[in-house]
Amino acid sequence: MIEFLIQPWSWWFSGIVIVSIMFFLLYFGKSFGFSANLRTICAVGGAGKKVKFFDFNWRAQIWNLVFLAGAIIGGFVANQFMSNGEPVQLAEATIADLNALGFSNPTSIQPEELFSWEAVFTLKGFLILALGGLLVGFGARYAGGCTSGHAISGLADLQLPSLIAVIGFFIGGLIMTFGIFPLIF
């Protein structure tokens, strides 16, 4: 059992756990949508005084901020107590493609080239993280949801808008991966 939990989880087991979280939230009268927290954080910070979009009863969203706090704890727990410290077992083809872009072979779960402090203290490194975040935060709200809200909850409810959003996710992701990465890396 312990061994099963410590090794990386299979896709099917992970999928079952994720959809179970969605069903528990439905059972508790809520819906699974993580990026709504970004809007809530703006509202908590007082953005509602200036911008109508953030003028809503954010107190009704506190449960989701608590969920966010749990997610941080979960990440900590997974690393401290459930990790075998092995790098990601990435597909050979991906390793080759990333090598060609100047990334070294994975030694952990994230590339040092992007997420080490050394990388962040370069202008390019900082801009990559900042721009990545800006696009995600802007796009998630424009599209009305992120991976949890559209790709999981929305598709599970057979919502056409969510399918369109997921197609959009891939249009953007493919443009970045195949069009922009060769220019910036």
Binding site: S14, L90, W117, F169
Partner: protein, 137 residues
């Protein structure tokens, strides 16, 4: 104390994001390059079981823990906002290798620089709120 259950679910969410490696920039690259089934398997499993479960909830009018019916609100019909918003999201997802959930899981995992991504995601949402009325929806 009603909130404890959401903390618990959040913890499970953080653990599954980490143990499935969905929080890894590498895995997102692998997905967008169509070089592994892994991410598709995760999302696909969740969606297939989700479709079945939600169909059953609707068929049997399942109620939540407080006795209220579980209702699903159809999202507003549009193409522009979902396609363009989605594409902007996708650009950022591939670049930073994280959607909003995995961003905070990464912070807990020890990748503190992901806090920069999360901070700017919050700023991105704020900018959307500012310019929302000027965008096609």
């Amino acid at each position: 104390m009603k909130l404890i259950k959401f903390l618990a679910l959040g913890i499970v969410f953080g653990i599954v994001m980490a143990k499935s490696e969905a929080l890894s920039w590498y895995r997102i690259q692998e997905m967008f390059r169509f070089q592994s089934f892994h991410m598709y398997g995760i999302i696909g499993t969740a969606v297939v079981l989700g479709v079945l479960g939600i169909a059953l909830i609707k068929k049997f009018n399942v109620r939540d823990n407080e006795g209220n019916p579980i209702v699903f609100y159809p999202k507003a019909k549009s193409v522009a906002r979902y396609l363009m918003g989605g594409a902007i999201f996708g650009l950022g997802w591939a670049l930073s290798g994280a959607c909003p959930g995995p961003m905070v899981v990464n912070i807990g995992y020890g990748y503190l620089t992901m806090a920069i991504v999360f901070l700017f995601a919050t700023i991105g949402t704020f900018i959307y709120g500012l310019v929302k009325d000027k965008l096609p929806h």
